[in-house]
């Protein structure tokens, strides 16, 4: 019972998700078909990967709202590299590296120069997207080699690969976060950076590593998403940052850092990703999706308060423990 108490928050989210599923199943039974669930998994796989990385970022008390723009850049890069004839394994490596370098840039500015992450990633959000638009001129990448879509594996196999890859990564990272020293370091830095430093964990290094990892995972997500189609658009990832942050917060990770699980994030992604299609199945005007998402975030925060998980009079930057 003691163990379960720690997961009160995640359980309440899971409950909400189950309730939603039941309601939709009653109103529109066709929702719960295997094909629909598979499509939901596929459409939300990129969001899941990005949300996993976002969980880590929020765990250390930072935020990264440039992920949408990074996603767009990585997508176009994947298209260009594939067109130049790069073999798939090398392509995978390169796109991940490109994402990682964008993340590293954030990591240097936030980790070492200790700039506020909201401002840095805000600036990057604008800079990457504008730079991308400038270079591509809005053109899509067409005429890709045949082995690009589904990695040349065909639709069935390709779909399984993508879903399995994201679930395996989720499982691995969930285990690592709870059991590896590096994982504990993330929680430590998020709880109290100064105490972590005194305990021998370097917050700057952890921050840099987390942002770089974020970039790498964004790159992977972009590639896994891009190979579902035969052309590459120039404006991918619109609104991705909001989706990821919402999923993480709804999933029970405390925004102040130091507390949260990847399982919660997974439930958050599932919950928020189901709302849109659920509205369509229920015949409700798709407009209300944004309002409902905003309301769910508020509710999640509300339940955080009820469960006594919020420190009062908190400022936006918990890692500042000294008075300047």
């Amino acid at each position: 019972m003691m163990r379960l108490n720690r997961y009160k928050r995640e359980m309440s989210t899971a409950l909400a998700y189950v309730v939603l599923l039941v309601v939709v199943a009653i109103i529109a039974p066709s929702f719960c078909s295997g094909a629909n669930l598979r499509d939901l998994a596929l459409n939300n796989a990129p969001v899941l990967l990005v949300s996993i990385a976002m969980t880590l970022v929020i765990l250390i008390g930072q935020i990264d709202i440039s992920v949408g723009s990074q996603f767009a850049v990585a997508t176009v890069a994947a298209g260009w590299l594939a067109k130049s004839g790069m073999p798939i394994p090398l392509l995978l490596l390169c796109v991940i590296l490109i994402g990682a370098s964008m993340g590293a840039l954030n990591g240097v500015l936030v980790g070492w120069l200790r700039l506020p992450s909201i401002i840095v990633t805000l600036a990057m959000l604008v800079a990457w997207r504008d730079a991308l638009r400038w270079t591509t001129g809005g053109e899509w990448v067409q005429n890709l080699p045949a082995n690009f879509q589904w990695f040349g594996m065909g639709q069935q196999l390709g779909q399984w690969t993508i879903v399995l890859a994201s679930l395996i990564l989720l499982g691995l990272l969930s285990w690592a976060l709870g059991n590896l020293a590096a994982g504990r370091a993330v929680y430590a830095v998020g709880s109290d950076a100064e105490a972590a430093r005194l305990a021998g964990i370097d917050p700057a290094r952890v921050t840099f590593a987390v942002f770089t990892f974020m970039g790498a995972l964004v790159g992977l997500a972009a590639l896994l998403n891009a190979v579902r189609f035969s052309t590459v658009p120039s404006n991918a990832g619109l609104g991705l940052e909001l989706k990821a942050v919402a999923a993480v917060v709804v999933g029970g990770t405390a925004i102040t850092g130091g507390r949260g699980t990847l399982t919660g994030t997974f439930i958050g992604v599932a919950l928020l990703g189901t709302i849109g299609p659920a509205l369509t199945f229920a015949g409700i005007n798709p407009f209300w999706e944004k309002a409902i998402q905003g309301a769910i975030i508020m509710l999640a925060l509300g339940s955080d308060f009820v469960l006594g998980r919020v420190k009062r009079l908190h400022t936006a930057h918990p890692q500042i423990t000294q008075i300047p």
Partner: protein, 686 residues
């Protein structure tokens, strides 16, 4: 002991005087490179454009000083705008009452933020991230995304579009009053001072007897109020109220505040700094536009400036800490000033180099073009060899549809030997369109050609251009008739709607269910077409049923997901009609992957992105017109207007390789919509 003169430290506690230097530098550079930059008219236009963001920046200064943030201000503008529009138009309340209620709505919304942040203690970042989404969502829900309130009275519009003494924009007075109030409140009252204490250390402030929760609640409620005020001015300025009002304004406001020396950690900041920061950004954007640089450069430079400022702020804080530790205040301060100056000069220098470099490069290429000469303009346009300048603006520079129009426009510009300016918002943004046109008026171009996103709002500024003797044409999407000389019409919305419906009927054999995937539910063009589609259905095809309209928001992946859902929810749907360029390939991919061979896709899109799907048979046909020809024709018509070849009563126009084109009723018509299918698509490349 060299202490800084007291007035300098009091006025610029965070060394904001450096921003004065930046602004002076920008003005110096742009008065050389930009046309008509250094005129009184342009100066006032700059202030008009900055009032709405300025109001937001003022209240955000207060919030950021307390160590918080408010990301919901832009969305609040959207919500307040539609509330104002709805109250005035649908509830028929007098405008003053509507304004009062709108301000009240602002207060209530601000209270939501205030309650969660001040009373419950939630992080401002997350709360306002949630309300950012919530307010915008409510605004879209209230209007179903479609409503566009317009037709406000002249007296109301004077607030946002009028001039006092002929040259001072009306809203400038509001901004001045707001600056004065905020300045006095923040710097001269104990309430203002308490905000600094709260930002510095909330716990310490509480122990000092300051009612922290109450003060915080006040600033967030104030934020809601000021945002609705900004919304009222926005609506008066553009003449319309839509749910997408104020999109992106929070970004610009926060940038201005942080640039102005306010520390994001709280505890430091001045109103003067914020205003200087705002003007630095606005002048940068205006100057770059007048110098003919693309809008993206402004975005990148603003980002660089922002990051540079914070690095500088951070570094100087470290130096200051080290200085305090040494207790040799005066000498360290002196070194501090030097190093601050050095770093900031470096940033300014880099920015200046980029702008100059860009200008030098474009000047060089222009010179090459003129020297390489021998084009028609040297022979044709007389008037001291002045090369005609045609300014062309799309709805969105990033949209491949408009990119293909530019191809044709470039081709025509080369044939005719005219200078073509191509600028506009990167994404759909009616307010930005106004800004760009204003810049072109100041610059003094010969023709302005706009693809209009906001009919009512742009018409005012287009009329202004006409008064100044600039020729005005619209293309692709029209403004009000008296605001332009001609419309270059590729096809009427009726023609498009009817052709789409007829194609659908042909594919479905006149009976069956189909669904529409549109752009965004509030897109004006698409909604026009949907109107005519429904009309045609009722007229000729009673056995066909439209079961759903889903948005794609211009995102291929979203169109893909929506189509998948539609196929499952409405299993009898045999046709998807996707009426936005990226939506057709998205829908086609979804149909293909579902394995449903009985479902087809049609719609409105560009040939290249659909070639694979047309060849595989999923997409039966796409309806369009030759977008390259549209751009080509626009430039030819523009040139004809300048030379006087095209007059209001004309019945036809010679347009280069297009031959003779029909002119009627103030429109230059490209022709009927064109249907791309398997038989002809390979002939096209755009």
């Amino acid at each position: 002991m060299q202490l800084a003169p007291p007035w300098r430290a009091r006025l610029f506690p965070n060394n904001e005087w450096v921003l004065l230097l930046v602004i002076a530098l920008e003005c110096a550079i742009f008065s050389i490179t930009g046309n008509n930059f250094a005129t009184a008219a342009n100066a006032f236009e700059i202030t008009r454009l900055s009032v709405e963001v300025g109001l937001l920046a003022l209240v955000l200064t207060l919030i950021i000083i307390t160590g918080g943030i408010d990301l919901s201000v832009g969305s609040m503008i959207g919500l307040a705008a539609v509330v104002l529009g709805g109250l005035w138009r649908d509830a028929h309340l007098p405008i003053v009452v509507a304004i009062a209620i709108t301000l009240l709505v602002g207060i209530v919304s601000g209270s939501l933020n205030a309650f969660m942040i001040a009373r419950l203690g939630f992080p401002p970042l997350i709360v306002t991230l949630g309300t950012f989404s919530l307010f915008r969502g409510i605004a879209e829900g209230l209007t179903r995304g479609i409503e566009n309130y317009s037709g406000f009275s002249q007296r109301f519009l004077f607030l946002g579009q009028g001039y006092v003494f002929g040259v001072i924009p009306t809203q400038l007075f509001i901004l001045m009053a707001a600056i004065a109030c905020f300045w006095w409140w923040l710097h001269s009252t104990i309430y203002g001072r308490s905000l600094y204490a709260i930002g510095f250390s909330p716990e310490g402030a509480r122990y000092a007897g300051i009612p922290v929760a109450r003060r915080l609640a006040f600033v967030y409620i104030l934020s809601g109020l000021v945002s609705s005020l900004a919304a009222i001015i926005y609506v008066a300025h553009l003449g319309q109220a839509k749910s997408d009002a104020g999109t992106g304004y929070e970004l610009m406001a926060i940038t201005a505040v942080v640039l102005g020396g306010t520390s994001i950690f709280g505890g430091r900041g001045t109103i003067l700094g914020t205003m200087l920061g705002l003007f630095a950004i606005v002048i940068l954007q205006n100057g770059l536009r007048l110098s003919g640089q693309p809008a993206e450069l402004a975005g990148v430079l603003t980002g660089v400036l922002l990051v540079g400022t914070i690095v500088f702020d951070r570094v100087s804080m470290r130096i200051r800490q080290a200085a305090n530790a040494d207790k040799q205040l005066s000498e360290e301060e002196f070194d501090l000033r030097n190093s601050q100056l050095a770093i900031l000069s470096g940033v300014i220098l880099v920015a200046a180099l980029i702008v100059t470099g860009g200008n030098w490069w474009s000047t060089r290429s222009l010179l090459k073009e003129l020297k390489g000469g021998g084009t028609a303009s040297n022979a044709g346009s007389g008037a001291a060899g002045h090369k005609p300048v045609i300014a062309l603006m799309p709805k969105a520079k990033g949209d491949p549809y408009f990119v293909s129009c530019k191809q044709g426009a470039d081709e025509a510009a080369k044939e005719l030997g005219v200078e073509l300016l191509w600028d506009g918002p990167t994404d759909l943004d009616p307010a930005k369109q106004n800004e760009v046109v204003e810049a072109w008026i100041t610059r003094g171009v010969d023709v302005i050609a706009v693809s209009v996103e906001n009919k009512v709002g742009i018409s005012t500024v287009l009329r202004k251009a006409k008064e100044k003797g600039i020729k005005v044409i619209t293309w692709d999407a029209d403004a009000e008739r008296d605001a332009r000389d001609f419309l270059i019409n590729q096809a009427t919305p009726q023609g498009i709607g009817y052709t789409l419906t007829d194609e659908a009927a042909r594919i479905l054999n006149n009976k069956g269910e189909f669904a529409i995937i549109t752009a965004s539910l509030s897109a004006a063009n698409q909604n026009e077409w949907i109107k005519f589609i429904k009309e045609r259905l009722a007229q000729k095809y009673p056995d066909m049923k439209l079961v759903a309209i889903q948005p794609s928001e211009g995102d291929r992946d979203r169109a893909f997901a929506e189509t998948q859902t539609v196929l499952k929810v409405y299993p009898n749907v045999k046709l998807l009609m996707a009426i936005a360029a990226p939506a057709v390939p998205g829908a086609a991919e979804a149909v293909q992957q579902s394995g449903r061979k009985d479902v087809k896709v049609t719609g409105l899109s560009l040939p290249n992105m659909n070639k694979p799907y047309i060849h595989s048979g999923v997409v039966e046909s796409i309806v369009l017109w030759n977008t390259v020809d549209l751009g080509y024709l626009t430039v030819y018509a523009a040139k004809a207007l300048i030379t006087g070849e095209l007059k209001p009563a004309d019945k036809e126009l010679r347009a280069g390789r297009l031959g003779v084109v029909e002119v009627a009723d103030g429109e230059v018509r490209l022709g009927a919509p064109f249907i791309f299918n398997k038989g002809n698509i390979d002939r096209f490349n755009f």
